[in-house]
């Protein structure tokens, strides 16, 4: 496969760049780009082209992701070619030249199934890989298998891979090592295993303990029942021993009770009840005596008290008077003040009246009140007075003003006089103006005409070849254009023919000269015998032979002829010489047959050329003659017009120019006619205007022929006429308006005067009512009315005061009467003249009476309570007596004193009874469920003195025999129970089992890992060896040669050897036969060794299968010039089978490649 082209449409710094790697040989293509030129981008683009864009790329700084586009053409060894594009897409990123999607596997036939990683390692090399490859050879200690394998696959070194695999496996497990992860985990597992065994509980263990427990429990139960039997017996005897004293006491008590005989049994509270009743009865008697005493005392006090009932009966009246006393006192105080005010009002009213009506007394003032009824009318009329007068004044003024103005307008109109009619002038003006500014137009056309004429004249002069005026231009007849074309074609064909013939003549001449040169060269080289010369020689030889034959065979004397044949030599020698000469000539002719033939060819060619030349010259001559004839005819056509013509092409141009001029001249004529028409029109219009003006004014006539001045004057006159007319019309309009206004103003004045008269009449009438003369002014009338009102108001105030004073007098009399009446009723003895003092006295009497009444009421209430208490106490006493009687009956006693004795007897009996009960209760407790009789029976059978001995014997058996046996057995039960409780079904063992599984899982994972690492390491090593065995010889053969070239002969080659470990290793061979191991080589040499192996692998590969391009990235950085040159040479050698694309940023590498002098296979491209 070859890369024919790389198109960097949009990628990295590139837009539409192309690298063309198309060459007939695969070739070495050096792509040179200085730093920053995008060398690395181009390299990445190449990779992306073949294998797709990586998911992320930094090459989108100029073109966005979706814009990235690269393309290229690949060529298969069988000639197939594929041109395609690739975009940055996740899927379906291939497109053909027409931008149609391509299948994803479209490149497969070209890439031969090689993937991206493989391609870049196997078919690419950069400086870093080279250096690491060199180091790798050192690491591998020159081990051939690894070196070949890594060079074949394009890896730098396998040593680190193998070492890492081994190290990882080793960390997991190594025989005889104890600290490896698997070993540690296995130990942990075993530890758990033994713990599990310890913790696990066997089924038989459990059964054994269960049975032991059952047995012990049974034994314990037997002992326990014996122990309880003994304890029971001891208890019984103890009981009897304790009961014996109580039984004796019981017997004694029962006898005492019997001895007491019959006893009245009284209730427990009998004594208390009796004492309680007795006490109550005593207290009640004391309280009764006290209550009766107090009642008698109260009745005495009641009799001593006297109550003033009359005062109490009139209590309301007295309270009323007491309240009214305040108002009465105030009335007495106000009286004199009010009287003073009343007199003052009256005096003021009299003064006011005197001011307006001195004739009237103040008491008659009321007679004026009716006049006040017209007060409003007078007020209203007074207010209207000024309005009416104003109206009359204004109307008069308006009439006068209008009359003045009317007179002024009339005089103005009269002054204006009559004016002339300008309508005809205006019509004439409109007509003139319709034609526009004729003066300006005529001026512009005049200039235009002048210029046009000037242009025509100039064009005529420029034209040349012909002399005539502009007028004659219109009339001149010229040959037809077709004729001109015809002549042009004729002239052209003649000229072309002439040129052709001359060319041929020149060529033939040159050919002839060349032939002559060649001939001369042949002839100068050596004299070449001609056929004629050979014939001459042969003829002479024949002649000699004939003479010799005649002399030798026929015996003729040929001496004379011989001398003629050869003067200097005898015949035989002469003949021999002629034979020699003829042979020599023939030989030479034979030997120089080529030259002879060439000579002959040259001669004949020369002849042919010369004759051709003659013929050509003849034809040229004839052609020149016919051209002269053509020229004469051409001239003939033009002489008729008085023109001596140039060539047809020039004349065609001239004719064109002439026709253009003719058109210009015609246009000139049109302009002139137009100008004349306009001038006539102007004159006509001017006349009309002047005529109209003459009719209207007597101004001086205008000089010149211009229209504009006339128009201006006509416009001025027309404007003046129009203004005068307008003024008159406006004056007439204002006159009629003024007259109408005047009429209206006069009517208004008249109405105002009528209103004024009406007002005066009403005014006089109203004043009459008031009693004022009609001549009084509104102000006077107003003052009069006001004074009357004020006077009447004062009188009203006086009247009000008088009524109040009268009221006070009336209230005072009524109060005093009431006081007198009541005092007479209540206290006739204490008569007091002053009403106020009397009221105070009455009030004091009332207060005393009220206090007495309250005391009396309190005494009445107390008496009622006492009466009720006395009744209650008497009832109580009776009840207590009854209670005592009942108690006496209960105790069967006749009196209160014997009751106390009965009480004491009863208490003694009860004490004995209680004691007996206690003894029996105690005994019942001892009987423990049995009856007292059982107990007595039990005690009856026992000897009291023997009891303690019996008890001690039983206790001894219990404590010394039975109980000591029970302890150990109970302990055994406890132990077995504990043991069984320990076997409680817990999950300790299960937990350990789970932990074991966790460790097993770890061991399992690590074992799997170990197996994989070991297998990987092993398969790799075995495969390295098998690759070495298969490829060592052919690769070393090629690599040895390459190594020699790359090291410039410093090494003669490479060979395999066996080291001290019996491993096959690579050895360099110096030209003097010295062997150098890789450790002894310089690092640069090892780099070249790695390169030699890589290139050898590639070459070997390309011998059997289609070659792939080899992409080289700047590997020569550290090579000196000579080795760089040698490397380039090696690449160039390989380039006949392998396409090598070499990227470099070093200009000298590019130069070196150019100067290799292998243009057929080395190409330099610049980025």
């Amino acid at each position: 496969m070859k890369i024919r082209r790389l198109l960097l449409k949009a990628y990295g710094p590139f837009s539409d760049r192309e690298l063309d790697f198309g060459s007939s040989l695969p070739g070495l293509h050096v792509v040179h780009g200085p730093n920053e030129a995008g060398k690395s981008s181009a390299l990445r683009a190449l990779q992306a082209l073949l294998f797709g864009f990586p998911p992320r790329t930094g090459d989108n700084f100029l073109h966005a992701y979706d814009q990235l586009l690269i393309g290229g053409c690949l060529q298969h060894d069988d000639g197939r070619e594929l041109c395609f594009f690739r975009r940055k897409k996740n899927k379906n990123d291939l497109f053909d030249a027409a931008d149609q999607p391509l299948a994803n596997d479209a490149l497969d036939p070209f890439l031969l199934g090689v993937g991206k990683d493989t391609f870049s390692s196997q078919f690419g090399i950069d400086h870093e890989t080279l250096v690491r490859g060199g180091q790798g050879i050192l690491q591998q200690e020159g081990e051939i298998g690894q070196a070949l394998f890594s060079a074949g696959a394009g890896f730098a070194s396998l040593r680190s891979v193998i070492d890492a695999l081994e190290a990882d496996a080793d960390a997991l497990f190594r025989p005889r090592a104890t600290s490896r992860e698997i070993t540690v985990a296995v130990a942990q597992y075993k530890d758990l295993q033994s713990r599990l065994r310890q913790v696990s509980l066997g089924g038989q263990d459990w059964l054994k303990h269960r049975q032991a427990l059952d047995h012990a429990e049974k034994e314990l139960r037997g002992l326990e029942s014996r122990s309880s039997g003994l304890e029971r017996e001891i208890h019984l005897l103890e009981r009897v021993r304790r009961a014996l004293p109580s039984l004796g006491r019981r017997h004694l008590l029962r006898e005492k009770i019997q001895a007491m005989g019959e006893v009245v049994v009284l209730p427990d509270d009998f004594g208390a009840q009796r004492r309680h009743l007795d006490e109550k009865r005593r207290v009640a008697k004391v309280r009764l005596d006290s209550a009766e005493g107090r009642l008698a005392e109260l009745e005495d006090m009641q009799l001593a008290m006297r109550l003033n009932q009359t005062v109490l009966d009139h209590a309301d009246g007295i309270e009323d008077l007491h309240q009214r006393l305040g108002a009465y006192r105030k009335g007495q105080q106000d009286y004199s003040g009010l009287e003073g005010m009343r007199v003052a009002y009256k005096i003021e009213a009299a003064q006011l009246l005197r001011r307006i009506r001195p004739d009237l007394d103040v008491d008659q003032a009321e007679s004026l009140r009716p006049g006040l009824g017209k007060r409003k009318t007078v007020q209203a009329l007074g207010q209207r007075y000024e309005a009416v007068a104003q109206e009359v004044r204004q109307a008069g003024a308006r009439v006068r003003e209008l009359e003045r103005e009317l007179a002024a307008r009339k005089s103005e109109l009269a002054a204006l006089g009559m004016t002339a009619d300008g309508s005809s002038l205006v019509q004439a003006l409109n007509l003139v103006l319709k034609f526009g500014d004729l003066d300006e137009e005529l001026r512009a056309r005049g200039i235009h005409l002048f210029r046009a004429r000037d242009n025509c004249q100039a064009a005529l002069q420029r034209l040349g070849l012909w002399k005539g005026s502009l007028e004659e231009v219109k009339l001149l007849g010229l040959p037809m254009p077709e004729t001109v074309n015809e002549f042009e074609t004729a002239f052209q064909s003649v000229d072309e023919e002439h040129r052709r013939l001359c060319g041929e003549e020149e060529k033939t001449g040159q050919a002839l000269a060349a032939l002559r040169r060649d001939l001369r060269a042949i002839e100068q080289a050596a004299v070449v015998p001609t056929e004629a010369e050979l014939a001459d020689c042969r003829g002479r030889r024949q002649e000699g032979w004939m003479l010799l034959r005649r002399h030798w065979i026929d015996g003729e004397d040929v001496q004379l002829e011989s001398r003629l044949y050869a003067a200097e030599l005898p015949l035989p020698e002469a003949y021999e010489q002629s034979v020699d000469l003829a042979d020599q000539a023939a030989d030479r002719m034979y030997r120089e047959a080529d030259r002879v033939q060439k000579h002959a060819q040259l001669l004949s060619a020369m002849e042919a050329a010369e004759s051709a030349l003659v013929e050509l010259r003849g034809r040229i001559q004839a052609l020149l003659l016919s051209r002269d004839d053509l020229r004469a005819r051409w001239n003939g056509y033009w002489t008729e017009c008085g023109i001596s013509p140039l060539g047809p092409r020039e004349m065609r141009a001239w004719s064109g120019n002439f026709e253009a001029l003719r058109l210009q001249v015609e246009e000139l004529g049109r302009i002139e006619t137009d100008l004349a028409t306009k001038q006539a029109r102007r004159e006509e219009l001017r006349e009309i205007l002047l005529r109209e003006l003459a009719a209207l004014t007597e101004e001086t006539p205008l000089s010149g022929d211009g229209l504009e001045e006339v128009v201006r004057r006509a416009q001025a006159v027309a404007e003046k006429l129009r203004e005068a007319h307008t003024r008159r019309e406006s004056l007439a309009g204002s006159l009629s308006q003024l007259q109408a206004s005047l009429d209206k103003a006069e009517t208004t004045l008249q109405n105002a005067r009528l209103s004024q008269d009406e007002w005066r009449q009403a005014w006089e009438e109203a004043l009459g009512f008031l009693g004022l003369p009609g001549s009084a002014s509104p102000a006077e009338a107003a003052e009069y009315v006001e004074t009357v009102q004020e006077c009447l108001a004062k009188l009203h105030e006086e009247d009000v005061l008088r009524k109040r004073i009268r009221g006070i007098e009336r209230d005072g009399c009524a109060f005093e009467n009431s006081v007198r009446e009541l005092a007479a009723l209540v206290a006739p003895e204490d008569a007091v003249l002053d009403a106020a003092l009397a009221v105070g006295q009455l009030k004091g009497l009332l207060a005393q009476a009220v206090r007495d009444q309250a005391v009396s009421l309190r005494h009445e209430e107390e008496k009622a309570l006492l009466t009720k208490e006395i009744l209650g106490l008497r009832e109580e006493l009776r009840q207590f007596e009854e209670g005592m009687a009942a108690l006496r009956q209960l105790s069967r006693c006749a009196d209160d004193e014997s009751m106390a004795l009965a009480e004491r007897r009863c208490m003694e009996y009860a004490g004995l009874r209680r004691e007996l009960d206690e003894v029996e209760f105690h005994l019942v407790g001892m009987a423990e469920g049995g009856t007292l009789e059982d107990l007595e029976e039990l005690a009856a059978g026992q000897d009291a003195d023997a009891l303690p001995g019996k008890i001690a014997a039983l206790r001894a058996e219990l404590e010394e025999h039975v109980k000591p046996q029970m302890g150990p057995i109970a302990e055994r039960v406890g132990q077995e129970k504990n043991e069984l409780a320990r076997m409680n079904g817990d999950d300790a063992a299960a937990r350990i089992a789970e932990e074991m599984q966790e460790v097993l899982a770890r061991i399992s994972r690590m074992t799997d890992r170990y197996i994989r690492l070991k297998l990987a390491s092993r398969v790799l090593r075995v495969e390295i060896e098998s690759y070495r065995a298969a490829n060592q010889d052919p690769i070393l053969a090629i690599a040895s040669d390459l190594f020699k070239k790359l090291t410039l002969g410093s090494f003669a080659g490479l060979r395999a050897d066996i080291d001290e470990n019996d491993s096959p290793v690579l050895i360099g061979v110096r030209s003097n036969g010295l062997l150098v191991r890789v450790e002894g080589m310089s690092s640069g040499t090892r780099d070249q060794l790695y390169l030699a192996l890589r290139l050898a692998s590639l070459q070997l590969r390309s011998q059997s299968t289609e070659a792939m391009p080899f992409i080289v990235d700047d590997i020569l950085i550290n090579f000196d010039e000579e080795r760089s040159n040698a490397t380039l040479g090696v690449f160039a050698e390989m380039a006949d089978r392998n396409q090598i694309i070499m990227f470099t940023h070093q200009a000298q590498i590019a130069d070196m490649a150019r100067s290799l002098g292998r243009e057929d296979r080395v190409f330099v491209h610049r980025l």
Partner: protein, 417 residues
């Protein structure tokens, strides 16, 4: 109407397998999962007030010897006894092998069917006849069901049997029988055990494997529990499955397609874990993460497998109730092309060698280290899944993993992706 519980394959105190502990793994939280699942069973029986519980064999795990397990069982049976619930059980192949079975003394509410001949227990109050026979030894190859009595008329008939029926993958072919022979007995319900995967073999009459009550390793993934059966008028009215498991094993396949870096991969795994966790409804989860698909991170994931595993364990720890059982990287490179090598390259030979397993037809004996290691490994690891004797499928995985490992190592450094 009454209800009963049908469970089987309890394997009490059988440990969970394949869970490698690591810091932050919820070790304590999932201890004794089998017991806690059984506690759940007892709680269910009590809470639902069932009439009886059927245990169809493999109560214990074959070679488990700790009698505490038996004691634990009798204690729990005591609880059922207090609740008035009877228990009927048959011995399975594991029980027959277990030393616990022989030593156990059962409370009086527990009935163990004979392993010598089929027996029938009639529960008069409920109108139920239970037929059953246990395993006499660990390997029973005859059809036990054949000797079972025909259904008793007028009763609800239940068969209790430990069997592989006609064979189930991953289970020993013990006490084989056919569906037809079971149906021919005329029973209403066949309560079967032995197969750990829940399966309703037939309805009307019902033939049911409830599966085990707690998954014990990744091959027993998914929900586990028992059947809760409702009987109305002497006929099976409803068979309901109830989950009892405490920890659930689950495969979590995560497609790495389009993941550009390990962070993105981790993120995707987190989401997948959260989804699985949601499905587990609050149970603990043991997740096996399998990274799949063509992805740019293929090489990097292989090279940084340990780092990734730690990442995922940390994720699991963050979630709190998740245990990362195992991480498998089964991704492929981004495109098929990029893994292809030149046919002339030494790598082609290497790949061919791996492909053909030319250099390791059998692992043991291949390298002396292998034999050395194998001899030290606990016997538990060398049983069916002996890592040194892979079967066909394991060999394929092994081969792929060796290839990926080797290619990743070889191209490390040369091509950092």
């Amino acid at each position: 109407m009454f209800r009963f519980v049908h469970a089987a394959d309890i394997h009490l105190d059988s440990p969970l397998k394949g869970l490698e502990s690591y810091p932050d793994a919820p070790v304590e939280q999932i201890r004794a999962a089998a017991r806690r699942a059984f506690d759940n069973l007892v709680d269910l029986a009590v809470d639902e007030g069932v009439a009886f519980v059927l245990l169809a064999g493999d109560l214990f795990d074959g070679d488990w010897r700790d009698y505490n397990t038996g004691l634990y069982f009798t204690h729990r049976m005591g609880r059922l006894r207090e609740a008035g619930i009877s228990v009927f059980l048959v011995a399975g192949n594991h029980d027959a092998a277990s030393p616990l079975t022989r030593a156990l003394s059962l409370p009086d509410n527990v009935t163990l069917f004979s392993h010598k001949k089929p027996e029938t227990k009639v529960l008069d109050q409920l109108g139920v006849a239970i037929h059953g026979q246990g395993f006499a030894g660990r390997s029973i190859t005859e059809d036990l069901s054949r000797g079972f009595a025909q259904a008793l008329p007028g009763l609800c008939n239940i068969g209790l049997l430990h069997t592989s029926m006609t064979g189930r993958a991953g289970h020993e072919p013990y006490a084989p029988c056919t569906l037809e022979s079971l149906i021919s007995k005329g029973y209403d319900y066949w309560a079967l055990g032995h197969v750990h995967q829940r399966e309703v073999v037939h309805k009307h009459p019902w033939v049911v494997f409830p599966g085990n009550i707690q998954g014990r390793h990744i091959r027993e993934a998914g929900s586990k529990g028992c059947a809760l059966v409702t009987v109305e008028d002497g006929r099976i009215a409803e068979v309901d499955f109830r989950e009892l498991d405490v920890l659930r094993f689950a495969l979590c396949r995560v497609d790495m397609d389009g993941c550009d870096d390990l962070d993105a991969a981790t993120d995707r795994v987190r989401k997948a874990m959260e989804l699985k966790r949601r499905d587990a409804e609050g149970r603990f989860l043991a997740l096996r993460i399998i990274l799949e698909g063509r992805s740019p991170v293929h090489g990097k994931a292989l090279r940084q497998e340990d780092h990734l595993r730690e990442n995922f364990r940390a994720l699991a720890a963050d979630l709190g109730d998740v245990w990362l059982e195992k991480l498998r990287i089964a991704t492929r490179p981004l495109s098929a092309g990029s893994e292809a090598v030149d046919a002339q390259s030494p790598l082609a030979g290497l790949l061919a060698a791996i492909e053909e397993m030319r250099h390791f037809p059998s692992l043991t004996g291949l390298a002396p280290e292998f034999e050395n290691l194998r001899s030290r490994l606990p016997a538990e690891l060398l049983g069916e899944a002996d890592p040194f004797s892979p079967d066909e499928a394991e060999l394929t995985v092994l081969r792929d993993e060796v290839r990926d490992l080797l290619m990743a190592r070889l191209q490390e450094g040369a091509h950092e992706d």
